[in-house]
Every structure is written in C-alpha cells, then in structure tokens.
C-alpha cells in the first residue's frame, strides 16, 4: 500500500512537472498580453518534432551519439521553438495589439490549426515513436518504482522553473516584463523597448513549452501532431486554477491538477463505491476547479483585485 502511495505520488509529480512547464508559458504570455494563447500547446508539440528531427540529423548526418546528441538536440529544439514563438508573435499577434482581446486569442486559434495541420502534412498524422532521453534505470523506493527518467524530468522542470522565477522576480528583465504587462504605453514612454520585452516573453514561453514537449514525448515514448491540444487545455486549466498571471500559481495549479487526476483515478471508484468510475476523472477535475474559483475567483494565488481600484472595462 505504501509502495502504491509512493508510486502514485511520483507519477503525479512527473505529470505535474510537465503540466507546470507548459502552464508557465501560458501564464507568462497571459501576464503580458492578457491573451489566452491557444497556440501554446502547439509549441509543446513542435518541441518534440523539432527535437526528433534534430536528433535524427545529429545522429544520422553529423554522427554524434549518446548523451551528447540528446543534449544537443534538446537545446537546439527548445531554442528553435523559442524563435518560432517570437516569429509567430510578430506575424499573428502583433498587428492585433490594439484591438479587442478576442482578436489575438482567435488568431492564436488559427495559428494552432495551421501548425497542427502543417505538421500533419509534413510528418504524417499518425503518432510516431519517440526515443527516450534517459537510460532505462529503475529504483525501488519502499515498494514504489521510480525511473531515472522521472527523476530527470522532475529535476529539469524544477531547474527551468527556478530559472524563470529568478528571471521574472529578481532580474531587471523580469521587472521590465512585468512593467510592460501592466501598461504598454507607459513602459514605452519610459524608454522600455516594449517589442523587445514581448519578444522575450514569446521566446521564453514557447521555450518552456518545447522543453515540456520533449520531456513528455520522451517519457511516454510517442509524439503526434495533435498532442498539444489536450495537454494545452490542461496547462491552461492549471494556470487558471493557480491564478493566471502568477508564476508560482501556475506551478501550484499544475501540481494540484496532476494530483487530482492521479488520485481521482485511484480513489473515485473506491469513494463512490464504483458508482463513478475513472471515466468521471475530468468531471472531478473541472468540478474542483469550479469550486476553487467560487471561493477564490482569481485562482489560488491570483491577486484578487478590488473592484474600484482596477477598472475592468470590456473584458472581451
């Protein structure tokens, strides 16, 4: 039983780490542009595809091998996807900065659709086996099995998240990004390079998403053009749950969601005596989300802004 408990906890932490990486990208973009970026899940997908491509080139054409090739492919992929993110922002969102909030959101939907179909056309619609980025090593911890890969994912995710936290809260760049997120016109007046800051966000967000995508694909062993959709939705949910715009919130939301999913699967049939099976897991997740938002309408760590101090005009 203890083994099972440990096992489930480790599983939840692994899934949670991946959700968190993607949720962070969501939250960053949201924080700066107040935009729900539907194409963010596709950055996750691109991460896997680009890494796959890079890996086959490095191993096949350059003749690199082993850990070196894997590391190189990982870095190349997240960097490239970061650049793609910047490019997408320039083309599809920048022209819409001064229009309603719905416009960039739906433009991102178009981007998402185009990217998924584009990859489907180029690489085929069916899922493809993805190489493992970690050697298969298992550790037995008090009856639970932990793989090296899980440990790797956890470490990678935490390192990236910590880096982001420092970047946003401690560095001047972070302060500037937050300033831009609050008021673009004022930031501009103060000599802040607003486009630079936004590009920065659209570099880091997709980069994190891509890292999540590579870790994910390597954990589950497959990638597919449509893999961004579901996970993107989950990350979005996590970001909202934690309080969108808040970086610790995104992480917290991601881990909570992962734990709900894992424990929900295990406990729902037990608790309801089989009336509600695992198939109701997502119902449980959404129900908890709704309950949390009813108590804290701005998410767990989101700052509840009082009515008159922040003027909410036209939310959409």
């Amino acid at each position: 039983m203890l083994g099972n408990l440990i096992q489930q906890t480790v599983n939840a932490l692994t899934i949670g780490s991946i959700y968190a990486l993607i949720a962070l990208g969501y939250t960053m973009v949201y924080g700066v542009l107040r935009m729900i970026n539907f194409a963010h899940g596709e950055m996750f997908m691109l991460g896997a595809y680009v890494a796959f491509l890079a890996l086959s080139l490095l191993v096949g054409d350059v003749g690199m091998s082993g850990a070196l090739a894997l590391t190189a492919a990982f870095l190349v992929a997240i960097f490239l996807v970061g650049l793609i993110g910047v490019g997408i922002e320039r083309v599809a969102y920048k022209p819409l900065r001064s229009s309603t909030r719905l416009a960039p959101m739906l433009s991102s939907l178009g981007v998402s659709l185009s990217l998924v179909t584009g990859v489907q056309i180029l690489a085929g619609p069916q899922p493809v086996a993805f190489p493992s980025f970690f050697p298969v090593v298992r550790y037995q911890v008090m009856g639970g099995t932990i793989t090296l890969m899980q440990i790797g994912i956890l470490i990678a995710a935490f390192v990236l998240m910590f880096g982001l936290h420092v970047l946003v809260n401690r560095s001047r760049i972070g302060i500037i990004v937050r300033a831009v997120s609050e008021s673009r016109p004022t930031a501009q007046l103060l000599g802040i390079n607003v486009n630079g800051a936004i590009s920065m966000v659209f570099f880091v967000g997709p980069l994190l998403g891509a890292a999540g995508g590579i870790l994910y694909s390597s954990y589950y062993g497959i990638m597919s053009p449509s893999m961004g959709a579901v996970i993107g939705l989950k990350a979005f949910t996590a970001a909202i749950l934690g309080g969108i715009g808040s970086i610790p919130g995104a992480m917290l939301g991601a881990f909570i969601l992962a734990f709900i999913e894992v424990w929900g699967t295990a406990l729902l049939p037990l608790v309801t005596n089989g009336v509600l099976g695992t198939e109701y897991r997502d119902v449980l997740a959404f129900a908890i989300l709704i309950l949390v938002l009813l108590v804290r309408p701005a998410g767990i760590l989101g700052e509840a802004v009082s009515e008159e101090s922040t003027v909410y005009k036209r939310e959409f």
Binding site: A103, T237, V283, I290
Partner: protein, 331 residues
Amino acid sequence: MAAADTLAAARPRANRTISWLVFAIAIALIMATPFLPNYHVRVLNSLLIYILLGIGLNIVIGYTGLLDLGFVAFYAVGAYSYGLLASPQLGLHMPFLLILLVAACLGAVTGILLGIPVLRLRGDYLAIVTLGFGEIIRIIINNLDWLTGGPQGIARLDKASILGIQIARPIDFFWLLLITVLIVGTVVWRLERSILGKAWAAIREDQDAARGIGINTTNAKLAAFATSATIGSIAGAIFAASQRFVSPESFTLQESVLIVLMIVVGGIGNIFGIVAGAAILILLPELLREFAEWRILFLGLLMISLIIARPAGIVPRSFGPEKLIRGLFGK
C-alpha cells in the same frame, strides 16, 4: 466641412445599395434552394443551424461580453431531449413541437444552473469554467449509458412532423430552420434593443458601473445565459431531428470554439456578422472538400489573415438589421 457633407449624403445612398444587394441575394438564395441538389440543401441546413447557434451564443459573448466556451452543452441538451423523447431508447415518441418546447425549457434551466455559480467570475476565469461545464456535460452524456446510450449514442430517432406534416427531407428542414432563424433572429434583435439589451451592453462595457446604476447584474446575466441556452437547445433539437442520430461526438469543445470563432470572424455583436462568419467557416471548408488536409491548413491561415485584416469582424457592428431596414425602406 464640405467633404463631410458629401460623405453624409453619399452614405445613405451606399447604404441603400448595400441593403438592397444583401436583401436580393438572400431572397434569391432562398428561392433557389428548393431547386438545389439535396447535398447543397444539407450544407445550407448545416449553415442555418450554426447561424442559430451563433445567434444564441452572441447574446452572451457579443451583447453581454462574457466569454462562454461551453455553449455546446446547451446544444447537446436540446439534441438529447429529442434523442430521448422521440426514439425507441425510452420508448417515448413525443411530437416534435412538444419536444421543442421541452428542449427550450430544459435549455433555459441548464443555462440558469450554469449561470448561478459562474456569474461571480470574470473574463478568462469565466471562460475556463464554462469550458469545464461543457466538458462535464459531454462526459456525463458519454457515461450515462443506460440513459443516453453512452458513446454509441441514440440511433433511429423518429422522423419529425409538425401538425401532421412530415419533416424528413433536407428541404423540409431548410424551411423549418429558415423560419426558426427568422423568428429567433427577430426576437433576439428586438431583445437587444429593449431595456434588457441595453443593460447587457452596460454590463459588457463596465459591469461595476452597471451595478452602480442599479442593474442587478446577476439577473441580467442569468437572463442572457438562459436566453442563449434556450436558443442553443432549440438548435440541438432540430439538429437531432434532421440527423436522426445523436452521439456525444457532436458536442465537443471544438464545436463551441467554432461557434465563438464564427461570431468573431463575422463581426461580434451583430446578427449579420454571424451569418457572414458562418458562411466563411462552414461553407468554405465544404467548398474546398477536395483538398483534404490542405483545406484545414488553408482555413487556419485564412483565419489569421481575416482577423488581422478585420479585427472587429467582416461585417461592421453598425450594419445591423436596423440599418438594413432603413436602407430598404427608410429615409
């Protein structure tokens, strides 16, 4: 000053031309429909259903300014009302009109049930919760096998008939849908111009200030949700009657998003915008059917370009039914 005068004089004339053009095309299309092959009629029917859904959702998004990503839940409620009440599933074979009424009521009730908990939420939080609500409804339908048939859905639904007239062929549904769209469209348009519609607009612009002038925003928003849900539900019942098969696959999140997209691409807050948006997003892929995956890529790119070219939608907010009527008959 002089330039402004000519402009002002030119505008009604331009308006008149456009109005008559729009009117003529619509009439021509309607007159031609009985002579079109069934496939085309079916495509038009599909278009009309989406227009109906768009009109419904637009109340919440366009008029009241609340982003609802779970609209498809009401569509499902309507469709399953027909599925359950007019099929061998429960052995009930109720008449179509009665079911329509039941569906409308159920829709309103679901709308209010959704509305009550979520009305405190703002913006994106509302969006995710409505999205979650849509998913919850779909998952429940998918899992209540004993009632809804689960993923297998409900097949062999009755053919619909109204007062003894059977509604079975695509063209029958065309007329039914056309009439429904006209009635619902008119009601919604008049509703928008009523004091309630004004309150919705005020909530959209600044809900705190709206409360400050004495608007019970909870009730006004509930009214919006309920009306919108009723329309979605009616669309669902007609959809089920025409498809004669319902299954959870028809009520996915993508469907909700498609309707939002239609509204925004066409021109938010404007009934004619919905028609334009539906035409582009429903007809175009059908016309490009031969191109398989390329058509979806094309659609994605088109979406981006359209939104960038016209962020406020294809049809300007100002060109509404009023403008059309004035252009046709007025001053």
